[in-house]
């Protein structure tokens, strides 16, 4: 049952990330890969956070999404940012930003500080996870050879 819920949420994450990419004008033929990136991002995060702490889950899943986006970048010949940003979008600590604001409004200073720290921790985890993969050389992602593309005539 839990697994079904995670699958449903990941599918919603797919739709949301495709829509998100449309908002930011991603090319039409890359939309599906942006969606897959978002799907994987939430799927890994949700499955991992059943077993380990949310921070570690964020770190590992952001590393996995970055790896996917670099593979996709090599195969589709587009900048890896295009796939990377939708992938980490479901993990961005929006809940924490809201909780920070809510606790600040309620005058709960200690909770506000702890939420700010939690937000920085999660953002740092996303960054650290990305860096782990971004630091690898480009040739590492060329293991699976690229399909040969027809050379386009100049329009």
């Amino acid at each position: 049952m839990e697994f079904l819920i995670i699958l449903f949420q990941s599918f919603m994450s797919f739709c949301a990330c495709v829509a998100f990419s449309v908002v930011f004008n991603a090319p039409k033929k890359e939309l599906i890969y942006c969606g897959i990136s978002g799907f994987l991002g939430w799927f890994f995060y949700a499955v991992l956070s059943l077993y380990i702490s949310p921070t570690m889950a964020t770190l590992i899943s952001s590393a996995l999404v970055t790896a996917f986006s670099r593979f996709a970048s090599y195969h589709r010949q587009a900048p890896s940012t295009l796939y990377h940003i939708p992938g980490i979008m479901p993990m961005v600590p929006g809940t924490v930003v809201y909780n920070t604001m809510a606790t600040a409004l309620g005058g709960m200073i200690l909770e506000t500080y702890s939420n700010i720290l939690l937000g920085l921790k999660l953002a740092g985890a996303i960054g650290a996870g990305s860096i782990l993969i971004l630091a690898l050389p480009y040739s590492f992602f060329e293991i699976i050879p690229r399909r040969k593309k027809k050379i386009k005539a100049n329009p």
Partner: protein, 251 residues
């Protein structure tokens, strides 16, 4: 023999378009450097910062040429980053001439892949989708869809009127905060927190934050830290807008 002046201008245009579309600084610098290295002079230099670009070619014939340009209006646009990338690759591998490349660059700076209406609706879908992802109910997702459409209109308009991103996020946060409180008054079963979290999702500075970390990683410390400041400012703007919205509606 290539005209150094035209080459400089092309590199600067490409860099400006990329930086204004939310590309990372190191990618912009790399692209400009590749374009300039087509020129046969040695010691070409390209420098990108978070708000300005410098390109320079030392040439024996006409003395050293240097151009600078400030880039202040920034909005995220993946399509333009991809197109510039494609054009610069094609140019560097000599598939197209400088003139053709400059023409194509001119063309993409005026086109958009989607109509405004589809971008506005997909902003709604993104907000509703993220609400469901984060364990919201269907009724919350519906509300987030509506506010997402409003925020999509706001983002669309602010791109035209060149409103600072701080104000866009402040107003967007206000829409989410005030809207969710009003919605809950009519539909008591809805939860304000899930609606707000879903609605602010597309505005959150996830891209700025990751780009800043990537820039720092590549050794662009100044651009990286200034982008991190921008990300924090946007996050505070959103939180401030939401808080203002909730308090004015008397939650």
């Amino acid at each position: 023999m290539m005209d150094d002046n035209l080459l400089l201008k092309f590199a600067l245009d490409a860099g400006e378009l990329m930086l204004a579309s939310g590309g990372e600084t190191h990618r912009v610098q790399d692209t400009m450097h590749r374009i300039l290295s087509v020129s046969h002079s040695t010691g070409v230099e390209a420098l990108a910062m978070s708000t300005f670009l410098i390109v320079s070619i030392p040439s024996k014939k006409s003395g050293s040429l240097t151009l600078t340009r400030g880039v202040y209006n920034r909005s995220v646009n993946f399509g333009k980053i991809c197109s510039v990338n494609e054009i610069s690759r094609a140019f560097v591998s000599r598939q197209i001439t400088l003139k053709e490349a400059a023409n194509r660059l001119e063309k993409i700076s005026h086109t958009s892949a989607y109509r405004p209406i589809s971008r506005i609706i997909s902003s709604g879908v993104a907000c509703g989708g993220f609400t469901l992802v984060l364990n919201g109910k269907w009724i919350d997702a519906l509300a987030a869809f509506l506010f997402g459409i409003l925020i999509g209109i706001l983002i669309n308009q602010s791109g035209k009127t060149k409103l600072p991103s701080f104000f866009t996020c402040l107003i967007g946060g206000f829409i989410a905060g005030a809207g969710s409180v009003i919605f809950q008054r009519f539909v008591p079963s809805a939860g304000t927190d899930m609606i707000i979290i879903g609605s602010i999702m597309p505005m959150l500075p996830g891209m700025t934050m990751t780009n800043s970390i990537r820039d720092i990683m590549e050794g662009h410390y100044i651009s990286g830290t200034s982008k991190m400041a921008e990300a924090l400012l946007i996050a505070f703007a959103i939180a401030g807008g939401v808080g203002f919205g909730i308090t004015t509606m008397g939650h």
